[in-house]
């Protein structure tokens, strides 16, 4: 159940047998949710944190006029709201983008881990730091790139992350997001997302149909999005 998380942490540093067992015993319940459901609402004060086992989820904020901005996209193995353990009050909501399976770890268990397993704690901390690094990269891309480059960058990032967890089949992977949701992610209108995708499609760079993304020319896509995976910190070393 928490094997995906273990695998993910171990991409950054090895875990001891004991640490793995701690993680295996930390999660208390598994739940299935449909697409477009809220996992946590803005303003909530959850008593447990949520690990995504399967499917896609997003963190988002709503503005006064009802518009939405997605600030993170999460895939299987992501600790969607580890943050709430210490932030206490949610400053954003978390919603499902597809049907998902999630499992929960009580904050009390996380507190115990932070007392008894410093190295494991550092790796959990690290996983929130990587989220943070992704935020920074998105800021850079949003602030300084055209819509096409933004889209290319997002596809490259998802490609890397899906490959990391073995959900990528030779440049093809599943992304259960509508163009509206993509627009909310990149800060673009739905219409423009459509045009940008058409451009990438017509350029023979990516195919995107039925939630199935196929990268036809990875090198070119990386150039368009100025993609450099360094910020994902995919490197195993003592932490």
């Amino acid at each position: 159940m928490s094997e995906l998380l273990i695998r993910k942490l171990e991409r950054r540093d090895l875990l001891s047998r004991e640490e793995k067992n701690v993680l295996r015993n930390a999660f208390v319940r598994t739940q299935t949710l449909r697409a477009d459901e809220d996992i946590v609402h803005e303003g909530d004060r959850p008593a447990e944190s949520c690990l995504l086992l399967d499917g896609f989820a997003a963190r988002y904020n709503l503005l006064a006029d009802g518009r939405r901005q997605i600030s993170a996209i999460h895939i299987a193995g992501d600790f969607v709201d580890l943050h709430s353990f210490l932030l206490k009050t949610m400053d954003h909501g978390v919603m499902t983008l597809s049907p998902v399976r999630v499992t929960f770890v009580p904050h009390a268990t996380l507190a115990q881990i932070s007392r008894d397993y410093p190295h494991l704690t550092r790796l959990l901390w690290l996983s929130t730091l990587i989220d943070s690094a992704i935020h920074r990269r998105w800021l850079t891309v949003m602030g300084r790139s055209t819509a096409t480059a933004q889209m290319a960058h997002l596809i490259c990032e998802l490609h890397c992350r899906m490959k990391e967890i073995g959900l990528c089949d030779d440049g093809a992977f599943h992304v259960p997001m509508t163009q509206e949701e993509l627009g909310d992610t990149l800060g673009l209108s739905t219409v423009h997302v459509n045009r940008v995708l058409a451009e990438l499609r017509n350029g023979g760079v990516v195919k995107w149909q039925q939630n199935e993304v196929t990268i036809l020319d990875l090198e070119r896509l990386g150039e368009i999005g100025e993609f450099d995976p360094g910020y994902l910190h995919l490197r195993q070393e003592p932490r």
Copy 2:
């Protein structure tokens, strides 16, 4: 020396006498830097993390064509690159925006703290989570607001954070940033930053001259920027 950091952490949760002493003894050297210097470069693998004692600093990324995006602004008391402790390799640079005083804590000391002081560790973790929350808010503002709203939001945020550390005098505070740097922060051109500031000035909302910001109409500024300080998590509670 680390009193500012202590004060800042204590705005979120009380520290024990021992924890405070640990922090007081953690920092090894203090250094003065001029404006526009790099503290850490992208790609570096620092062995210590940097606490800002005085002045302004920014985290930034450079693009291929030389354009820059600032992803965070840091003020006195901020732990500018606590991240490098676990990320190891810097995925962005950190530069001074003004003359600053900084002090450093060896990563080895942080590792020790993470072994021996779980509660203090959680508070350090928390401070990186708050950075992360700020990133998310910036993403929301960048993606879904006009330039004027972005600027208003940034001013509100800086106002809150400066007030928090006692560097705000009745709505007036120091912001040693050029309009170019503001543009790099908000993803705007220098020219447009100028126009937006002129608009806010002419509207009688803020005065901004000689790096001195004065908020004339805080309520109106908050409306323009849709500002809600919740994401700064300024609340003292057990963590």
